[in-house]
């Protein structure tokens, strides 16, 4: 059964430098941002944390800057702060839509952009109490030896279910990571790896400090599939950015969440002005179906997630290409 929150030490650095030092000091230290996912997992006995490095007092991570060149979002910005920005809602619809689709308003007052990007992967056999997992022989992701979802495989298939990552990836975002050696910047799409038990390319003494995108206005949208209107992680979700090409064609940037252990980037060819649209979109649907591999990690069937994500990807792409580009 769900347990009492385990005993731990909470430290509250004021600077990124302090936070990195605190992380480096102890193997079992873990970052805590909003804690909306972490605290639940800790009560499920899913980590042996002795020290929580809590980053809400690091002012440099709370900045939200939008200038002519770039939109830069500090990792400590809460989701509601992000959602409140009308400029972002106008210029980056996909980011805004993804943001307001996360969990619920009371979560979003606490939960942060960095936390959502670093969200742990999820699975029916993982996000359970210690008592439940023990009763079911644990699993590959934590303390166990087999993956109940794909027993023949040798890796964890837990799914990444962050909403912001696909929206930001589709906007070709970069992520800033700070560690003992200083800051490094990589494309957000390269931040993840397809392994449910180890899906972030982030060292234990590193912190995601910000994410940024080029501030060109764009035509974009995000849509997630859930059974109800609030609270749910995406069964699958897709962000589509569509831009008009100089010769009146359409280029697309598409990323998908909820289906794999990492966000899936779909490499879509350009829709040329004279292309047969029906053929193009039907090919797009097939491409999505082939690119994703949802597993039995949710209460809703995997094949449905594959079909529906392909269908809404096509619908979003069609709608955006019809609207024309700004």
């Amino acid at each position: 059964m769900v347990e009492i929150l385990p005993n731990f030490k909470l430290v509250r650095p004021k600077t990124v430098e302090q936070a990195v030092a605190m992380l480096a000091r102890s193997e079992s230290a873990k970052l805590c941002a909003g804690g909306t996912d972490l605290i639940v997992n800790m009560r499920h006995g899913l980590s042996d944390v002795h020290t929580l490095v809590e980053i809400s007092q690091i002012n440099e991570m709370q900045e939200l800057d939008l200038d002519d060149d770039r939109l830069r979002i500090g990792a400590g910005v809460t989701l509601n702060e992000l959602a409140r920005s009308n400029e972002i809602a106008k210029s980056f619809p996909a980011i805004h839509q993804a943001c307001v689709a996360i969990a619920s308003p009371n979560h979003r007052n606490c939960a942060t952009v960095g936390g959502n990007l670093c969200l742990d992967t999820r699975c029916l056999f993982y996000n359970q109490s210690h008592w439940w997992r023990k009763s079911n022989d644990y699993c590959l992701k934590y303390r166990g030896t087999i993956c109940h979802v794909a027993p023949k495989g040798n890796r964890c298939r837990a799914a990444f279910a962050g909403d912001l990552a696909p929206a930001l990836i589709a906007c070709r975002a970069d992520i800033e990571i700070t560690g003992p050696q200083g800051k490094r910047v990589i494309a957000l799409k390269d931040f993840y790896r397809e392994d449910g038990a180890d899906h972030l390319k982030l060292n234990s003494d590193e912190i995601v400090t910000a994410v940024s995108v080029k501030s060109t206005a764009q035509n974009s949208a995000y849509k997630k599939i859930t059974v109800r209107g609030a609270l749910d992680f995406p069964l699958a979700g897709v962000a589509v950015v569509c831009n008009q090409t100089p010769d009146d064609g359409r280029s697309f940037s598409i990323a998908i969440t909820g289906t794999n252990s990492s966000p899936v980037v779909i490499d879509v060819p350009e829709l040329k002005k004279d292309d047969n649209r029906q053929d193009f979109f039907s090919a797009l649907g097939n491409l999505v179906k082939k690119s994703v591999s949802p597993q039995r990690t949710t209460t809703i069937a995997a094949h449905y997630r594959r079909l529906s994500i392909a269908a809404i990807t096509v619908r979003l792409a069609k709608t955006l290409s019809d609207e024309g580009s700004k």
Binding site: V2, L5, S135, L231, I300, Y304, R315
Partner: protein, 964 residues
């Protein structure tokens, strides 16, 4: 153990405390500061009952380690009204009271906080924005409609669109029956002052925790709890060996031991319990108990359970059959022969969780008179006392059950799941003992709605008459009997619907398996069988190209109808209800084929817009409209009021008290529906005083007369009639004394609104004066009692004939849906719900029941599914057990029909359970109308909808190919 010094400002006062690092903000508020208005509903940030403000932002306090709250400013619900029930309440709190937005009240403090946050963030928030911003707070009772109405009212008052006075003054009613008298228990709920069992603390109280079975079916070889006893702070461990009397409880069969005896029959079954000074020690001790199990073959479905050689769950039932109920009327074979066609379909319903926001909790203690007492949110303290006396081997008056406020029940708190353990532990330790379930425990262990397969045959004549109905219903009763017997009975009696059918053959079977037990759940089996009937009728109407209302009108019962159990009904309102629903919903008549978008009655002003998160911020629609289709469906229902096929009774005591007030004592269970307000209205009306002058005593087996359980939609019918009779009894005695004082005849007296007078004279007194006269001058204390009986009879064991109820109610609902044919998602936009409730006591309360019932029906139609794998619950939190949020609910239009019951003093009937029966088939029929797909397996998840759409497309393409 590391500790933290916390300094914070809580509700305007500086607080400095040392706490353990693992303490969450919610624990700090509730345990250290006794601010119990902040409730724990799930402990995982899903339900929002623990919402508080931290530095002005709405947060879920169960997700925040208290050390993070160091240096912050915290406001809880108590702060809104100055920390007291006597303080001035905020506009939001008052609006919740006025609009009837609180039912069981457990979610309400969190809702009030969320509503306050919405209006702080945007004082002009529109309805859709309010819904979106309250998406993190779950309510299971109200269907959200009155909550959102209340927020809109508070907004309008703040913006001076409505005068502030509307929140303070209740309209003056002269006649309390039929008036929306404000709920008398709402102030305690909107201020967070009402104490539920988990909020109670007694001196010397121990915390109890339970060791639960990890196996679905296993023999217990040994239990070693010696190490558990070594844990500092542990007082005792109990197992089945500690049960002093005859072990076993159950609503019908007493087949469930207090703790597993010899073997476990489902995952999560209690095996042992520990009591310790604190929760931490109790949990640690539970982990140290070593149980050796020998696993047994287990059975997880009814087909396996009934097959020869299946694992046997209970030795007394070697065929795993809990109960079979047969009903026979006429000759179905002759009926099928007469039919112009016979439809045959199979339906499957899912297990459903009650999901009351208050997890099970209770306190047990032995009082100074040696009486073993258990406080708990039980729906049936009367029966629990009976069973507990046997289990403890004590005289019945040495066992006392007290009902704590029930934070939602819906049938799920009828089973005596933990009260036995509390009593035994209290006896063993000599200390008060408290147990509070986690949400996981609550969902894993409590009974579910019976998943049922229904094999249906219906014969229909060319003119639309049903010539024969045959139903075979097989239900998974899970590991223990609970209410299975009664559920099978009601499923059978009501199954073929409120239709005049000459030939009927019904068989319902409940089986034991090693799944989580199934038990009582709002509608008690009727939802499953009536759902299948209403879908069958839609199919029949389509085949005949009849309007779905028309086929129901043709077959619907009328005055003098003979039911399936061969009971003659005198007063049948069904045709009126049908007509009211048709008119109220602006239904466009037409054949029941897939009319969908061709309908002209779609998209009226009485529905809500479809939910598109964030759409209000966007200049363009986030996605195109294509692929979304709308349609409408309808379904009807009937329901029996009060206990089924057995004599039902309820009692009450009343005293006209000093100052012209009154005390009413009765074993009533306020489960959230507003029964206390109903009783106050009835007593006020009968006694001639005002509802606010009535005091209703607590439900306590040692203090109040038996009124039995909260269930079977019986409380208004049984208890309000008992209270009315008791009041009349008082008035008879009282009037005789006052008449003698005035030297007139008693029948010349009349009383209302706090005055008693002699008709056609100027003789008049206040009731306060009259009570003083009665007592001081006549020497009589005006007391009285009443008992109301509903003389139902049992069913014949062979053909099921009998008179299971004397009062029946009828309902009819229309649903309008939007189906996304690309994703399979379904949104219900509007529901028109017409229900006969007999004489209405409180219209606002009736609407509240309808709205809550419709939304529970919606959940069952579209999303809710308690999933198990090999007996292990997979969906035992609100993250995986999906139930409706404020964003999923339709606009609900309640249409109340009054057909007073001729057989009872008040003429009121009931609405609690009936409200949700027609919702599920109405939605399923609407999906067909919209998208041309017929779902027979619940819930209609996007998975099933999309699969059906693909099948349909494939078939259409196939038939095109064949045509070419």
């Amino acid at each position: 153990m590391s500790e933290h010094l916390i300094e914070a400002t809580v509700n305007g006062r500086k607080v400095r405390k040392t706490v353990k690092a693992g303490t969450r903000l919610i624990d700090f508020l509730r345990d250290d500061l006794q601010l119990t208005g902040t409730k724990e509903g799930c402990g995982a940030g899903e339900c929002g009952t623990c919402s508080v403000f931290v530095d002005g932002k709405l947060m879920k306090s169960c997700l925040m380690p208290v050390s993070r709250a160091d240096g912050t400013v915290i406001e809880t619900v108590e702060n809104l009204s100055g920390g007291s029930i006597l303080g001035e309440r905020t506009a939001v709190q008052k609006a919740f009271h006025k609009m009837g937005a609180s039912q069981c009240g457990y979610c309400i403090p969190g809702m009030v906080m969320a509503a306050t946050a919405v209006l702080q963030d945007n004082p002009q928030a529109e309805r859709e924005e309010i819904k979106e911003r309250m998406g993190g707070n779950i309510c299971r009772c109200t269907g959200y409609q009155k909550i959102i109405d209340a927020v809109e009212l508070a907004r309008d008052v703040a913006n001076q669109i409505q005068p502030a006075g509307v929140l303070d003054t209740e309209e003056h009613h002269d006649d309390f029956i039929g008036a929306s008298v404000w709920r008398i228990d709402a102030p305690g709920k909107v201020t967070g002052q009402l104490k539920y069992a988990g909020d109670m603390v007694l001196p010397g109280m121990l915390e109890m925790q339970v060791l639960r079975s990890p196996h679905a079916h296993a023999r217990i070889v040994s239990i070693d709890f010696s190490s558990a006893l070594e844990v500092p702070g542990v007082h005792a461990v109990i197992t089945a060996d500690d049960v002093p009397g005859t072990d076993g409880y159950g609503v019908f069969v007493h087949d469930q031991p207090v703790m597993a005896r010899g073997k476990v029959r489902h995952v999560g079954e209690a095996v042992a319990a520990v009591a310790a000074d604190d929760l931490q020690a109790a949990k640690e001790a539970v982990r140290l108990i070593r149980v050796v199990y020998e696993q047994l073959p287990a059975v997880f479905d009814t087909d396996t359970a009934k097959a020869p050689g299946a694992p046997i769950v209970h030795d007394y039932a070697p065929e795993n059959l809990v109960k079979h109920i047969p009903i026979r009327k006429g000759d179905v074979d002759a009926g099928f022969a007469e039919a112009s066609f016979v439809l045959e379909h199979t339906f499957q319903t899912q297990p459903v969780e009650h999901a009351y926001l208050e997890p099970e909790a209770g306190i047990g203690y032995v009082d100074a008179d040696g009486v073993v007492t258990v406080h708990s949110p039980s729906q049936n303290i009367t029966h629990h006392r009976h069973m507990l006396a046997d289990i403890l081997d004590l005289p019945i008056n040495k066992v006392r059950m007290i009902m704590s406020p029930v934070g939602g029940g819906f049938g799920g708190k009828e089973d005596m799941l933990y009260q036995g353990m509390l009593a035994i532990m209290a006896m063993k330790t000599g200390r008060p003992v408290r147990l509070v379930f986690t949400r996981e425990e609550s969902i894993t262990v409590s009974a579910k709605r019976h998943p049922t397969r229904i094999q249906y045959r219906m014969g229909v004549a060319k003119d639309g008459r049903i010539t024969a109905s045959q139903l075979k219903c097989e239900s998974d009763g899970g590991a223990y009997g609970c209410s299975t017997e009664g559920v099978m009975r009601k499923m059978a009696i009501l199954g073929p619907g409120p239709y005049d059918i000459p030939n009927v053959k019904i068989d319902t079977y409940g089986y034991y398996t090693n799944n989580t037990p199934s038990g009582a759940f709002r509608t008690f089996g009727a939802m499953q069988s009536e759902f299948s009937t209403e879908v069958m009728l839609d199919l029949a109407a389509e085949k005949l190209q009849l309007d779905p209302f028309e086929i129901r009108r043709i077959n619907g019962m009328r005055n003098g109808a003979i039911t399936h159990t061969k009971q003659k009904l005198e007063s049948v309102s069904f045709q009126r209800v049908l007509e009211a629903a048709r008119e109220g919903s602006r239904w466009e008549s037409g054949p029941s084929s897939s009319r969908g978008e061709q309908r002209k009655d779609l998209s009226g002003t009485d529905i809500r817009p479809p939910c598109q998160l964030g759409a209000r911020f966007m200049s363009t629609k986030p996605e195109g409209e294509f692929g979304r289709v709308r349609g409408r469906g309808m379904a009807a229902s009937w329901y029996g009021i009060a206990r089924t096929a057995t004599i039902d009774r309820a009692g009450a005591w009343v005293e006209l008290d000093d100052g012209g007030t009154a005390k009413v004592l009765t074993g009533v269970t306020e489960i959230g529906e507003g029964i206390l307000t109903v009783l106050a209205q009835v007593a006020a009306d009968e006694l001639g005083i005002r509802p606010e002058n009535i005091t209703i005593g607590d439900n306590d087996t040692a203090r109040s007369p038996e009124a039995a359980h909260a269930g079977a939609t019986r409380q208004t019918y049984m208890i309000a009639n008992a209270v009315a009779l008791a009041c009349r009894n008082v008035r008879e005695r009282f009037d005789a004394e006052i008449a003698a004082f005035w030297e007139v005849e008693p029948d010349q007296l009349e009383a209302s609104n706090g005055h008693i007078r002699v008709r056609e004279t100027n003789k008049s007194m206040t009731m306060a004066e009259a009570v003083a006269v009665c007592k001081g001058q006549r020497g009589v204390v005006p007391v009285g009692s009443g008992s109301y009986t509903a003389p139902h009879t049992g069913l014949d064991p062979v053909d099921g004939s009998g008179k299971p109820w004397q009062a029946y109610v009828y309902g009819c609902q229309v649903a309008e849906v939007e189906v996304d044919t690309v994703t399979g998602e379904v949104q219900v936009l509007g529901v028109w719900a017409a229900h006969d409730v007999g004489r209405v006591i409180n219209p606002q309360g009736v609407e509240g029941q309808i709205e809550g019932g419709v939304v529970q029906g919606l959940g069952q139609a579209l999303m809710e599914d308690y999933q198990q794998t090999d007996g292990h619950a997979v969906s035992h939190g609100f993250d995986k057990y999906i139930l409706p949020t404020s964003l999923d609910v339709p606009h609900i239009n309640s249409i109340i029909i009054e057909d007073p019951d001729p057989l009872s003093p008040l003429g009121a009937k009931g609405i609690g359970e009936p409200a949700l029966v027609p919702t599920v088939p109405a939605i399923i029929n609407a999906i067909y109308d919209a998208a041309g797909i017929r779902l027979t397996s619940l819930p209609a998840t996007p998975v099933k909808v999309l699969a059906a759409l693909r099948d349909k497309k494939r078939m259409r393409e196939g038939s095109l190919e064949a045509a070419e």
